[in-house]
């Protein structure tokens, strides 16, 4: 189990490779990467995303989610990486990886972690456009997604 909250970029492919390497225990590995999408922003296209977070609480909140997912779906291993600071379009914001004996558990745990990271980990996104900035508003469907767990 590992949780990393960092400003530095990470290499999604290398992380996936290292996470899956030599697993004899888990038949199923699921990974998710969130990427800065080329969305409309103030003044046209998105230039960058700025992510603020709450140091200390961030790590606690993610560790609690990871512990719950691990217990609930019997995970063999779990990894969460989430960046903060300024990110350009096309860069990976965060990733989750889960390993379990069977695929249904690995998928469910990854989706659970994503839903909770979206709405219960203290990160906030600001869109930086060519002519202005705007904080991203929480989406009702992200909050509603928690109800399924």
């Amino acid at each position: 189990m590992a949780v990393r909250v960092q400003a530095a970029p990470f290499d999604f492919g290398a992380e996936c490779g290292a996470f899956a390497a030599g697993r004899r225990d888990a038949g199923a590995v699921v990974t998710f990467a969130g990427v800065v999408r080329d969305d409309p922003a103030p003044g046209g296209a998105l230039v960058a995303l700025e992510i603020e977070h709450y140091p200390g609480m961030t790590e606690r909140a993610i560790a609690a989610m990871v512990a719950e997912a691990t217990a609930r779906w019997g995970l063999c291993d779990c990894l969460v990486i989430h960046r903060h600071g300024r990110l350009a379009v096309g860069e990976a914001i965060m990733m989750v990886a889960t390993a379990a004996p069977h695929r249904a558990d690995a998928f469910a745990a990854a989706e659970f972690l994503m839903d909770y990271l979206k709405s219960r980990a203290p990160f906030w996104k600001k869109e930086i456009g060519a002519e202005g900035t705007a904080w991203v508003a929480a989406r009702a469907e992200d909050e509603a997604a928690l109800d399924r767990w």
């Binding site: 965060m94 979206k118 992200d142």
Partner: protein, 83 residues
């Protein structure tokens, strides 16, 4: 009691600081918010609509009716948008 009060995102922008030390006798988060609102225009703007505000006590999410006894750090922020 002495509290460290933290503000994030647009609450920080409206209040004008990310952190302040507050001397208070407030029993609950709601009581504290009422006191903070009276501190000035920025604070009042930050707490104009508390439906858009979330609170954490010592880095754990809590409700506005939560008691402050024993708490050292109170953080206010909008709904989270990570992932």
């Amino acid at each position: 009691m002495t509290l460290e009060v933290l503000y994030f995102v647009w609450l920080r922008e409206r209040v004008g600081t990310g952190r302040e030390t507050v001397e208070t006798g407030a029993a609950t988060v709601a009581d504290l918010v009422a006191e903070l609102r009276a501190r000035g225009e920025g604070h009042a703007a930050a707490f104009a609509d508390t439906r858009a505000v979330r609170v954490a006590l010592d880095q754990e999410l809590a409700g506005f009716d939560a008691p402050l006894e024993g708490v050292r750090e109170v953080a206010f922020f909008p709904p989270m948008t990570g992932g």
